[in-house]
Symmetry: C2
Subunit: 195 residues, 2 copies
DNA sequence: GTCTATACAGGGATAGAC
DNA sequence: GTCTATCCCTGTATAGAC
């Protein structure tokens, strides 16, 4: 913040993304100025443009790398039994969402501020993730260990329910993550008729 | 839009709210200008200030009246059996959310753009609504017709799941509302262990 | 790579005429 | 109640020095 000159490309790039993610999540993409991001990083506004084409590109990069991290971090074993896979999904999704709550919030709230091309790109990545859960439900139904009236709706309903933890979870609150995972897994198991 | 002069207070006031709600929901509070709202209504920007103190007050009024409509529209009968009450809640919440999807979206996305006082006001109203569902779950548990590990978490989880319909529902899509209500009620019934 | 300075557009809000 | 005109601020993005 007090620095005047000097080149530190290795750390400034990531820092810009970190601060932009944080600020966009807290105040909204449109409400955050490039000056504000620059101030948080400790550079002048003009310096940001050495790292990103413009504000839109910055948002797109944030959402894109988040979705890629999400897809890369999730491991599904199609050979395992569907209930085990579903439980793994539930715990993974909750944990990942809480670990990346700013990015998760951005991915739901700021899609509307993407250009059509960038929106398509992110929507495609999200669809791939949703398909992963959908496959588990279909396998579970086929195996006779789950029972839902509409697997597509159940997919959307479960993701909305699980992602909702980010709305109320506060670090150091009443419940730890393990316990939250237990509760949500119980709700999920019931919802898919696996009891 | 082409009008030059003339007073039509009766219709301009509501129109401002309608257009502001629509635009805020689609583009975000910060991204929408007062000039843009005025253009949608068919007046000049200055005319808006005859109806609202400022942009912040406009947002607050929208969220406040939405929450009051929501609370006013929901009828719970504490004397009825808990499963009947829960089903009524599920169908009501889905229907109301779809009927007021812009306002629902606003209520989740733009809380961060409220001043602290205004935020408190809206949070209090929302808490009252959540408490209503919580009471149903507690009554159901006590009556032995529901089984959840944590009634507070279940409350938040169910509301998130149900509100999620607004993320994917499109008028004239694959499913009508009755059918969507059926599917979500089945998911809910299972989640609370009522099968 | 970062700075300072700046171009240029658009923002919220107000004043005074009608 | 609405219009036109305007104040003043802030926004994104760029240019050129260091």
């Amino acid at each position: 913040m007090a620095r005047t000159q000097g080149s530190r490309a290795e750390i400034t790039g990531p820092l810009i993304r970190d601060e932009a993610r944080r600020l966009f999540a807290r105040q909204g993409f449109a409400a955050v100025s490039m000056r504000q991001i620059a101030a948080a990083v400790g550079v002048q506004a003009g310096a940001l443009y050495a790292y990103t084409d413009d504000k839109q590109a910055l948002l797109h990069e944030l959402l894109q790398s988040h979705m890629q991290d999400l897809l890369g971090a999730w491991r599904d074993d199609p050979a395992a039994d569907p209930l085990t896979r579903l439980e793994a999904f539930v715990r993974f999704h909750i944990g990942f969402s809480l670990d990346h709550s700013d990015a998760v919030f951005l991915s739901y709230m700021e899609l509307r501020n993407l250009t059509p091309e960038n929106f398509q790109d992110i929507a495609e990545l999200r669809g791939r993730y949703e398909d992963g859960l959908h496959r588990i439900l279909c396998d579970g139904i086929e195996a006779g260990v789950m029972r839902v009236a509409d697997s597509r709706l159940a997919t959307m309903a479960l993701i909305a329910m699980l992602t909702g933890v980010t709305n109320w979870y506060r670090e150091g609150g009443r419940l730890d993550r393990r316990r939250i995972g237990d509760v949500y897994w119980a709700l999920t198991r019931g919802a898919v008729g696996a009891d």
